[in-house]
Symmetry: C2
Subunit: 335 residues, 2 copies
């Protein structure tokens, strides 16, 4: 690999001058500049980012930590982020925690060692003090999707509570009284907020919460599939009339379970979901859902990061909440 020194020697200038030409931050005479540029081309020289990073304390790398790399929702967020930051020369390092707190912490350490400029974190831990440590060490973190109450940091999240409240209220308006839920990991803020919105909607409409209808799908398609099956089996004599899945993966798991048990949606049981399933266009019935704008979340997070690193922002904490809207299709029966 050719270095700045080689360029300098060949062009008969100092390394400082070459550096100035590359960065264009100090005056260089036209003549010298041209010569240097020519030499750079001739030698095919490209500056070593590692050396630059060491010197300038800036890596142009952003760590993105999510619970599940195979969930389209997070991939969409990633695309949103990438579209915003990549034009400014930033690269994304992707990490998947598999919803494991230890792994999450290990990954954050690794990213810290790598001196990434920023971390976008969809956390699945509730150990805010451990995250706080990273922040205290000077790590820049923006929480995405999830947030932790006691954590002093920027975040871009959805309006989980209100959106769920509205969706469940709609379901109740359709006459449903036996309402089940497939929850995500309640240790994660999104799952908790969604469930809270769910419960509040029931309460406000004087519908009783039937514990036997509530299952823990752990934000996991397979788990949801299994738990929904068990739930249906144990409630065969009195099934819920509608099910709320707290995310897309779990909605898919639930659909597969219902299909296997020959329960038709919405005739035998209705289903609604927070977030849209894959290939929604092809699957009957079309699900009534809360539509998430994952790409937008990514973009907002990217923009926020850019603003922060450019210093064009007051030092206060920014909390962005993306509104979600309900899309009514035909998976809820009117009773």
């Amino acid at each position: 690999m050719v270095t700045i020194k080689q360029v300098a020697e060949k062009a008969n200038v100092s390394t400082a001058t070459v550096s100035r030409v590359i960065n264009g931050n100090y005056p260089v005479s036209e003549k010298v500049k041209n010569k240097v540029i020519e030499t750079i081309k001739e030698l095919g020289y490209r500056p070593n980012s590692i050396a630059r990073s060491l010197k300038c304390n800036k890596t142009y790398m952003v760590g993105m930590v999510v619970p599940d790399i195979s969930n389209n929702y997070f991939m969409d967020i990633a695309r949103g982020v990438e579209s915003v930051i990549s034009p400014l020369g930033y690269s994304l390092i992707f990490c998947s925690t598999d919803e494991n707190t230890d792994k999450e912490l290990r990954l954050l350490n690794a990213l810290n060692d790598k001196r990434v400029d920023y971390v976008l974190l969809a956390s699945s831990t509730q150990e805010d003090h451990k995250l706080q440590k990273f922040i205290n060490q000077g790590m820049n973190i923006i929480m995405i999707d999830t947030s932790l109450e006691n954590l002093q940091t920027d975040s871009v999240v959805e309006d989980n509570y209100n959106a769920t409240y509205k969706l469940i209220s709609y379901v109740i308006d359709q006459g449903h009284k036996r309402i089940g839920a497939v929850n995500g990991l309640l240790s994660v803020s999104t799952a908790k907020e969604r469930y809270n919105g769910f419960c509040k909607a029931l309460e406000d409409h004087d519908i009783s919460l039937e514990q036997s209808y509530i299952v823990n799908g752990a934000y996991n398609r397979k788990k949801s599939y299994e738990e929904v099956k068990l739930m249906i089996q144990r409630n065969m004599n009195k099934l819920p009339t509608v099910l709320f899945a707290a995310n897309n993966d779990m909605a898919e798991g639930a659909m597969i379970a219902l299909k296997e048990m020959n329960l038709k949606i919405p005739d035998d049981i209705s289903l609604v979901s927070f977030g849209d399933i894959n290939l929604a266009e092809l699957i009957e019935p079309r699900l009534t859902i809360i539509s998430q704008n994952a790409v937008l979340i990514g973009q907002k997070a990217g923009e926020l990061m850019l603003k922060k690193v450019s210093g064009n922002s007051e030092n206060n904490i920014t909390k962005v909440t993306i509104p979600s809207e309900i899309i009514i299709r035909n998976s809820v029966k009117s009773i």
Copy 2:
């Protein structure tokens, strides 16, 4: 951020000694070692990877360049790679080219500047000489999914030609004679190979190739949707009896188009695909496909990379071909 120097001062040793303790590559007395370890903990010291990288010429970063970050197929490959390399301390940098040669080249340059240890490249360009330049510069590249004939580099690919040949032969055995195809970008090796297998199967069974049934879906769901619609419209009086989609995305696009035009699979038209669609469990009819093992491709690529960087491999070029199998379900009508 605390540095090795601060640790050394506080522990009353030289930075060299601290380095030795961290890396455990040279003898250090128990006493000194313990003291250093203690100081490291006390100060919360963590080595700066950037500085290490500069010194050691090793970044523990792997660039992964794919045409489309939102396609599950590539995400699965990524998961496979990650599962293999992450335990050894490597991180993945993800890049999406959007099937754009310029962007691909730009990304490769950026990764080169970042001195990533390896690049896993699913290329969508055919400019092998430009890629060759990177290799000549000393960049380590493993081609995944795609490959370029004239390029001297390792690769992990599928058996596109033979798998397609078998699938189309099966379709012909079911009595089909009017056979259409939704091709990927024929500039990409996978698309070309699949189409070649397609053509050869027709030829060997004396079936004529009807150009009007062949469309270019550009490996793109939307394009496939549009092109299939047009193709159906212009062949209304004599439709193909079966369609072959060269990847999952395009199969989805084709399904949506057929559904919109009220053509039932397989009654009105049969459909087969290279690679499985999303949420296959829920979609009727179940598609007859060539099953791809994307995670396995990723793992193989990861393992190959690890072997190469450890030097435990002869310097020759390794070409891994993953066999694909046909999964017969019920999207092909027997005629």
